[in-house]
């Protein structure tokens, strides 16, 4: 469809632009269609001009819509329109996407995974294996494959103590955040103790965050059981996929709510996702993820709410983005970054 771009005359370009415009008016146009369109658009400045012209016309048509519609025939039946409107947006099925892709694990974790002993044989011979400790510094994340094949992606400034026993796989994480993709093994539950809550899994994928007094769990796949730490007989709360549980240390109640696993897992892609999060939480996350202290100048700044996605690619770009999207000014000093309310 894109044609021989270099040689296309204005008529051909106009034709192609109209084709793309009409194609993309259809809400069934897929992400790939848009990528193809981008390729066409980037091929020549004349393509962009032709397309922009159609956009201008399209907008102009809105302004004269009533007059044009009146000048044309009587409108199509209102019932058809209502029926159409009553239904929510419809689009064709997109191919199912795997969640945390195996490829990502393999690609990013290959180096580490290779250095860790893997296999049932090893585990069977560790009736009371020693504690393995994994630590990440601020600004550093790490992917691990544990001896049972379970995968752990450890966020910055986190510590994990792992001990595999005959009847249980035990992990302690008193301060940290990690995504777990736990290998299915009904005979040996996987137990994660954060000091506040204990999470029991058989085989599933989820993110746990224990920072200061706040515990948060988001489950992407499977089912997870949560109990207060040190209370193995307490009735567990079961958290299914798509749900999350949060608890504040000392509180009598845990809150279960629909979770956004994608947001909770976003750090594994180098992104931080916020929806009306207080700025002091954002600052604390940035301190851990950037490896540079980030603080708020005062309590009022700390209470500002932030919604947005911050990509952890480049520190300066990230701070610029934060300044653009939140009413703060980032002051860079020798001791780190201080956020001031604007």
């Amino acid at each position: 469809m894109t044609g021989r771009r270099d040689e296309d005359g204005p008529m051909e370009v106009a034709q192609q632009a109209a084709h793309w415009f009409a194609r993309l008016l259809d809400d069934a146009a897929t992400g790939d269609d848009w990528l193809d369109f981008e390729t066409w658009l980037a091929a020549a400045p004349s393509h962009q001009a032709a397309y922009a012209r159609l956009e201008g016309l399209w907008v102009e048509l809105d302004e004269v819509a009533d007059a044009v519609a009146a000048a044309l025939d009587a409108p199509v039946s209102l019932d058809a329109r209502r029926a159409a409107r009553a239904r929510p947006t419809l689009s064709p099925p997109a191919p199912p996407r795997s969640t945390l892709s195996r490829r990502a694990w393999l690609a990013a974790g290959a180096g580490l995974a290779a250095s860790v002993a893997v296999g049932a044989f090893t585990i069977a011979n560790w009736p009371n294996s020693p504690v393995e400790t994994y630590v990440t510094a601020a600004g550093q994340t790490r992917q691990l494959t544990l001896a049972d094949g379970s995968k752990v992606w450890l966020n910055a400034a986190s510590r994990l103590d792992v001990r595999f026993q005959r009847g249980a796989r035990r992990v302690q994480m008193a301060d940290g955040e990690a995504v777990f993709d736990v290998t299915h093994d009904p005979s040996r539950p996987f137990l994660i103790d954060t000091g506040d809550r204990e999470v029991r899994v058989v085989g599933t994928e989820f993110n746990i965050r224990q920072r200061a007094d706040a515990f948060a769990l988001s489950v992407r796949r499977g089912l997870v059981e949560v109990r207060p730490s040190g209370a193995p007989d307490a009735t567990p709360t079961r958290v299914p996929a798509g749900q999350g549980l949060s608890h504040r240390k000392g509180s009598a109640q845990a809150v279960i709510a629909a979770a956004e696993p994608e947001a909770a897992f976003a750090w594994t892609r180098g992104q931080l996702v916020y929806s009306a999060a207080p700025m002091n939480q954002v600052a604390a996350d940035l301190s851990r993820s950037l490896g540079t202290p980030v603080q708020v100048a005062d309590a009022a700044t700390g209470r500002l709410r932030f919604s947005g996605v911050l990509a952890l690619d480049d520190k300066d770009a990230l701070l610029r983005r934060l300044e653009a999207f939140a009413p703060v000014r980032a002051e860079r000093g020798p001791g780190g970054v201080v956020l001031h309310r604007r």
């Binding site: 109209a18 962009q48 994608e262």
Partner: protein
């Protein structure tokens, strides 16, 4: 089980880079594209969870493109306001200034343009007119138009393309 917001958020996080690159090309400005892509995120957060979205990536591109169109609309409106203000102002200044296109002429030009649009569209085959009207003025999706008229989706696309092409050729 996955609601619209989660699906859109997942697609957004995966395609954020693609979207930023695409809108940088469209807007010819990396900063403007960043703003727009951030705006897309805020819109996702406001999406009703009950809405069913089965083509999340396409939805995001469309959402961003609509935000762009909204901006074009805003610019056109403020340009029209500026124009009006300048014309009024000019009359106050008096006869020193040569009014090349005073408001009265604008109104005439707008009428002529509307007449031209109507003429172009009404010369098109009836089915093309019908498709165009249903999609553009009555807000039906391509699938809905296709169903209502008993034609294929690609036929709907072709009719829309014909209208656009003709308008682009004949209007200046």
């Amino acid at each position: 089980m996955t609601d619209a917001r989660s699906a859109l958020l997942a697609a957004y996080l995966e395609r954020r880079g693609d979207l930023t690159r695409f809108f940088t090309l469209r807007l010819k400005s990396a900063a403007a594209a960043e703003d727009l892509v951030q705006d897309i995120y805020l819109r996702i957060a406001a999406v009703e969870p009950s809405v069913e979205v089965r083509n999340a990536a396409g939805y995001l591109y469309r959402l961003g493109s609509n935000l762009m169109l909204d901006r074009i609309r805003g610019e056109r409106r403020s340009a029209a306001r500026d124009h009006e203000w300048r014309d009024n102002h000019r009359t106050l200044i008096g006869s020193d200034e040569v009014s090349e296109d005073p408001s009265a002429d604008d109104a005439v030009a707008a009428r002529q343009r509307l007449a031209a649009i109507v003429a172009i569209v009404s010369e098109l085959p009836e089915q093309t007119q019908r498709v165009f009207r249903m999609h553009k003025f009555e807000g039906l999706s391509h699938a809905e138009v296709a169903q209502a008229l008993g034609i294929s989706r690609s036929a709907v696309e072709k009719h829309c393309m014909t209208v656009l092409k003709r308008l682009a050729e004949r209007l200046n």
